[in-house]
């Protein structure tokens, strides 16, 4: 028995040893897929000598699950607005020391004191965008203006929804004339019924390569986050992005440091780095998404700065919903989503 004990002890020592040998400064980033360009990460690594690794996710919930499960190993995460609220309530984020972020002053006025994180205590906005739909004019003959098109049987089998509970409910609620992010049980139930009904004509749920689906014509219409399709819009003039007249939604993704992060200094350095106008501009240009740094917007090429899929016209932005943490109503969404997913 003693032998096994010793073996176990030596094995764990060996394992611990490998974890301790890392010498250079490191940074482990966990960010939204296709939002943080690899080139920016490489530039930062070159400039600072920090060893950076990046993993990506396509839903806030996946990231939250990893953080709440304990030691995730990540030093920097990129939550959306309501996710910041949930993570703060769970005590999973580090309160930011603004003295370490001199470039924070570059933040645009609209993003300086956001409702979900007053005073930027836990997160620093990075980019913003909208949730709407994209269609391919090869099979959609008249321009689409409403979510209702995603319920239209003439597109049967060629409509894809985001495989993301809260995103799907934006369409489910708004198609009923309701607001996304509601906590009202009857409204959520109504949306659930609409989403179940929609399932008959769906090709599927997809939140990873929906841009390719609509570009290739596999799908006629896909529900979409604008930042994931802006690149495709450039390459394929037949694909159009629309914020539906019912409103659509706006989101802000920003950087935050998990409570158990090991390389906190490197994380601060990265946040500060990406707030430099020229870096923010390069990131926005590469990812084709809207920057929160005003001085960076001025540096953008015209085709990005004037792209309506990236910077929607003001009248559209007036109508968008902004999803905040729904608290206990989350359970209603989850039960509803399970019903949607299991409906035949």
């Amino acid at each position: 028995m003693l032998k096994y004990g010793m073996l176990l002890a030596t094995t764990s020592l060996l394992l611990a040893g490998t974890a301790l040998t890392a010498s250079a400064e490191e940074l482990h980033i966990y960010a939204w897929a296709s939002e943080l360009p690899q080139e920016i990460v490489d530039d930062f690594a070159k400039e600072t000598g920090i060893n950076v690794t990046m993993d990506t996710y396509d839903s806030n919930e996946t990231m939250m699950a990893k953080l709440s499960a304990g030691a995730s190993g990540y030093d920097l995460v990129e939550p959306s607005q309501y996710t910041v609220q949930v993570l703060v309530k769970q005590g999973l984020l580090t309160e930011l020391d603004h003295a370490k972020l001199p470039n924070l002053s570059n933040l645009g006025a609209a993003f300086k004191d956001v409702s979900y994180d007053p005073g930027q205590k836990f997160s620093v906005p990075y980019i913003w965008g909208t949730t709407g739909l994209a269609y391919n004019e090869d099979c959609v003959k008249q321009p689409i203006t409403s979510w209702k098109a995603m319920w239209d049987p003439q597109y049967e089998g060629r409509v894809y929804m985001l495989d993301n509970m809260l995103a799907a409910y934006i369409a489910g609620l708004q198609v009923n004339g309701l607001h996304a992010g509601t906590a009202n049980p009857e409204e959520i139930e109504k949306a659930t019924q609409s989403l179940i009904e929609q399932k008959k004509i769906l090709g599927g749920y997809n939140s990873s390569n929906f841009g390719e689906l609509v570009a290739s014509g596999e799908a006629c219409i896909v529900q979409a986050w604008n930042s994931n399709v802006t690149q495709i819009l450039d390459e394929n003039p037949k694909v159009h992005y629309v914020i539906p007249e019912e409103g659509g939604s706006m989101w802000i993704d920003g950087f935050a440091i998990p409570k158990n992060a090991k390389n906190v200094d490197a994380a601060y350095k990265f946040i500060d780095y990406i707030m430099k106008p020229e870096v923010a501009a390069k990131a926005a240009n590469l990812s084709k998404s809207a920057t929160v740094v005003d001085a960076a917007k001025a540096l953008l090429p015209k085709e990005v700065a004037e792209n309506q899929a990236i910077y929607p016209p003001a009248d559209k932005l007036k109508k968008v919903d902004f999803i905040l943490d729904v608290g206990d109503a989350m359970k209603l969404y989850q039960d509803g989503w399970t019903k949607v997913k299991t409906a035949q």
Binding site: K3, Y4, L7, L8, T11, S59, E61, T62, M64, A65, S68, A69, V86, K89, Q90, G157, R158, Y160, D163, M165, K199, L202, G203, G204, Y205, N206, S216, G217, E218, G327, D328, M330, K331, Q334, D335, W337, T338, K339, K341, T342, Q344
Partner: protein, 285 residues
């Protein structure tokens, strides 16, 4: 004395794999079981303690369709795999002659490629502008591309492709072990090829068939990628439910409870099956 020394040596040789099995299999399994009895707060945190909440929630009507659907898809996949795998195994065992080694190797080569890549390739093959539709429209067989991705048959194709090798191998093993003289005897006694197959070959290959069915049925219930990639995520099974509960809903206790139920379910099936298999083998002996 010598015996004891041999035992010690055996134990020492086994130690690395034992440690691995305990660290990587037994402990995680116990952790999952412990989680399934834990409570949870509304923000997805796990509250340690003992409660049956998750198991009670699991038996709500909302989750029942997923269990039924999983069993259906697993049963259908098993049937399809055995129906297609048996003739292949038969051909390799009885008709391929000196090429049988090569055929077996060809069957196994796809295993060298990552599972996700193989499944993504099927998305390319079955896409609207994919290879299959391209060939069919090019040959003038169809005018409009057929929709394949996001349908039930596409899921079955994925399952068949994923599990065919694990079906063919045990059936092949059973078939190649059959004493050929028994077939000659059947012939001498006036049985035609069909009768000889049903009365001699098939019964003797049954243990292989049953093993193959088990190798398909149990993992098929937990497959995650195939329903998502080829089925469009519309018809979810237990594997998808577990991912949804752990990652999307951050409901670790409920996700753990589903895993435990699935573990019990497959264990029961395996035990029941092994018993039947043993009875079958005894009957032949």
């Amino acid at each position: 004395m010598r015996n004891r020394r041999q035992n010690v040596i055996t134990l020492l040789l086994l130690a690395p794999s034992l440690v691995m099995a305990i660290l990587l299999l037994a402990i995680p399994l116990l952790v999952v079981i412990a989680y399934s009895f834990a409570g949870r707060d509304s923000y997805g945190g796990v509250v340690t303690g003992f409660t049956l909440e998750s198991y009670v929630e699991l038996f709500q009507p909302a989750y029942l369709p997923i269990f039924v659907n999983s069993l259906k898809i697993a049963a259908m996949s098993t049937a399809v795999c055995v129906l297609i795998g048996y003739p292949i195994a038969y051909f390799i065992a009885f008709r391929a002659g000196k090429h049988s080694g090569l055929l077996l190797a060809l069957l196994l080569i796809p295993f060298w490629i990552d599972f996700m890549i193989r499944m993504s390739s099927w998305m390319v093959l079955m896409g609207r502008n994919g290879t299959i539709n391209g060939a069919l429209t090019g040959a003038g067989i169809i005018d409009e591309p057929i929709r394949m991705i996001g349908t039930y048959p596409a899921v079955m194709v994925g399952m068949l492709y994923a599990f065919l090798p694990t079906t063919v191998l045990p059936i092949y093993a059973a078939l190649s072990g059959i004493n050929r003289r028994l077939l000659e005897a059947a012939d001498d006694l006036g049985a035609g090829p069909v009768e000889a197959f049903w009365r001699v070959t098939f019964p003797l290959s049954l243990p292989g068939v049953m093993a193959a069915m088990l190798f398909v049925f149990v993992p098929a219930m937990g497959v995650y990628a195939i329903p998502v990639l080829l089925g469009g995520g519309k018809s979810i099974i237990l594997g998808n439910l577990i991912v949804q509960l752990f990652l999307d809903f951050r409901n670790i206790p409920l996700g753990a409870a589903v895993s435990v139920v699935m573990l019990v379910l497959s264990s029961v099936i395996i035990v029941f099956y092994m018993r039947m298999l043993r009875r079958l083998e005894e009957a032949h002996a």
